[in-house]
């Protein structure tokens, strides 16, 4: 008997387990067990709570419960002027900050019809692809940790560190860099960045070879991943799944190719796809994507055009610092931007880009003032999470951990 008045079952009452058709059997082994998995569990990659119904070791039903790190970022952004909203937007999906910023800035630029210089577009591409590799490295390290392979974590984070060093060099920050601005990027890449970047792209394909040697021929990893939790493409499409999870099932849908933005059509790269959409395909697609990202970076740094890195439209971009000392006009623009921000013509746009987890899209509504009237991020993790049940139902609980690892949900993006 419970010692308190607090009835746990009553609290859970709203979570319906109706479709289970629960019957308590005479045989104790047939009985279903409801298990609360998370929210504080290292294998959930954040504060994700999953209510799992088990029959022995087999998952019969599950329901993800989210909202534990909901911080109201979209509401906060409504109270900030457009360019001051970038830092909070970046903190949604904390492994893909360049993508969050790009989706937001892209939406503002579309609405305000701001032209982005070519050099800025290339610099954005370089940083976004670095970010993609970085995000995939974190995924690889942590998901191998879930499979019981701890050494991969150190190798993955070794390369991630090099990328963070590059971010630090170009923007001063390792994470949440605020590098991408409305109209371009905050600063040109500094001296020595190119050299360091070239060293990195020279070494990275080799490192991916090493990861493959470590994992792709590893009997234990292959047994855990191959033919587990496969979902066909149509189910994934109905569930709105995008990104590597969808491509693993053989659908070559990549927004960088389909609707190129930020000069992605200048680069030659392939879209890796899987065949049957099992955990192995999800794993293999991401590994191959890292190689393609390296290719894109290589082409972008080789063909990096000269010119300005941010628009010269003083209505949206800060004037260069040195102009403030000599030009009254620059001082006025600076003052207006810092105090009020810039106004954006009224209207609604949706700006989608391809991030490491799928389609990041910012829906932006402007009412003509200097603050957004509504910002909404279509976060891929939030939508992809719905596919967990389709993937895991009727497989073992160990496969649930592996699938969750291969799905790569980021809870900061899910809860926002």
């Amino acid at each position: 008997m419970s010692t308190t008045d607090y009835d746990h079952r009553q609290v859970e009452e709203s979570i319906t387990m109706a479709p289970l058709g629960r019957q308590v059997s005479e045989n104790v082994h047939d009985e279903l067990l409801t298990l609360n998995f998370g929210p504080h569990h290292p294998a959930t990659h954040g504060v994700l709570r999953i209510l799992v119904t088990l029959e022995g070791e087999v998952v019969r039903d599950l329901e993800p419960i989210i909202g534990y790190v909901h911080t109201g970022i979209e509401k906060t952004a409504e109270d900030k002027s457009y360019w001051k909203a970038i830092p909070v937007m970046e903190r949604m999906d904390y492994l893909a900050y360049y993508f969050n910023a790009m989706a937001f800035c892209g939406a503002v630029e579309t609405l305000a019809e701001v032209e982005v210089p070519k050099r800025a577009q290339y610099l954005r591409v370089i940083h976004m692809e670095l970010n993609r590799i970085m995000s995939h490295l974190v995924w690889l390290g942590t998901s191998c940790l879930d499979l019981g392979a701890i050494s991969m974590f150190w190798y993955g984070f070794r390369e991630r560190e090099r990328i963070l060093d590059l971010f630090e060099q170009s923007s001063g920050q390792r994470m949440h860099t605020r590098y991408i601005q409305v109209g371009g990027v905050i600063e040109d890449i500094p001296l020595g960045f190119e050299e360091k970047l070239r060293q990195f792209i020279a070494v990275m394909p080799e490192r991916v070879d090493q990861y493959e040697a470590l994992l792709d021929r590893n009997e234990i990893v292959l047994q855990r991943l191959r033919h587990t939790c496969a979902v066909d493409a149509q189910t994934l499409l109905d569930l709105g799944v995008t990104g590597p999870l969808l491509r693993a099932a053989g659908v070559p849908w990549d927004l960088r190719k389909a609707t190129p933005y930020s000069s992605y059509d200048d680069f030659d790269f392939k879209v890796p796809v899987g065949t049957i959409g099992d955990n192995y395909d999800r794993f293999a697609v991401r590994l191959k994507e890292m190689r393609q990202s390296v290719r894109i970076i290589e082409q972008a740094i080789d063909g990096l055009p000269e010119g300005p890195w941010i628009t010269d439209d003083r209505k949206v971009a800060l004037p260069p610092r040195h102009e403030l000392a000599t030009s009254m006009e620059a001082l006025i623009h600076h003052f207006k931007l810092v105090t009020e921000g810039f106004r954006v013509p009224p209207g609604e746009v949706y700006y989608p880009i391809e991030g490491p987890r799928g389609e990041y899209g910012v829906f932006l509504r402007s009412d003509g003032s200097s603050k957004p009237a509504r910002v909404h991020m279509r976060d891929p993790s939030f939508v992809n999470l719905q596919a967990t049940k389709a993937m895991v139902q009727d497989s073992y609980i160990a496969d649930l951990i592996a699938t969750l690892a291969m799905m790569d949900p980021v809870l900061g993006g899910i809860d926002r």
Partner: protein, 167 residues
């Protein structure tokens, strides 16, 4: 994106429920009657827009009807996008759910309900998703104040109801 003419043709085909069209920044938008959203999206699905990418909620305060729901559809074969918008008032914020047709709308409709209070009829699990279950109000509405959130710290518990911010 369907061009302006293609959009008009599409609107004609949908007929009565299509209240208007909008072509803005190179993108086509259909404005439809809330009650017929399921039928409209089914028609568009038949036209090739088979992928429901996202559902967004908007509050147009102080305009009436206040609440809006936007559906982003993708045609992956022709690489085309279309947006479908509808508006409902706060007095009867009911919209038929499209979750039976697109299971992927499940979480997103729950989010719109949570944040704006639009009720999706026919949704299998119309509950809050991001906010706590016992939460009152819909925080993304424009008249919902920022910082109006009372926080109860254990140390202040003895003070009774005075723990909230002085608002």
């Amino acid at each position: 994106m369907p061009d302006a003419t293609g959009l008009e043709l599409l609107a004609q085909e949908i007929g009565e429920p299509a209240l208007g069209t909008l072509h803005f920044r190179g993108k086509g938008t259909l404005i439809v009657d809330p009650g017929s959203i399921r039928g409209v999206l089914q028609t568009l699905k038949g036209k090739g827009f088979e992928f429901l990418s996202s559902v967004h909620g908007v509050d147009y305060y102080p305009e009436e009807p206040r609440l809006g729901v936007h559906y982003e559809l993708i045609d992956m074969d022709k690489v085309d996008r279309i947006c479908v918008k509808l508006r409902v008032g706060t007095d009867a914020p009911n919209v038929p759910s499209v979750t039976p047709d697109w299971p992927g709308a499940n979480h997103q409709e729950r989010e719109v309900f949570d944040m704006f209070g639009v009720v999706f009829d026919g949704h299998p699990n119309m509950r809050r998703i991001l906010m706590p279950e016992d939460y009152e109000g819909h925080p993304q509405r424009r008249d919902f104040p920022i910082g109006g959130e009372p926080v109860l710290f254990t140390a202040d518990e003895a003070k009774g109801d005075a723990y909230t911010m002085d608002v």
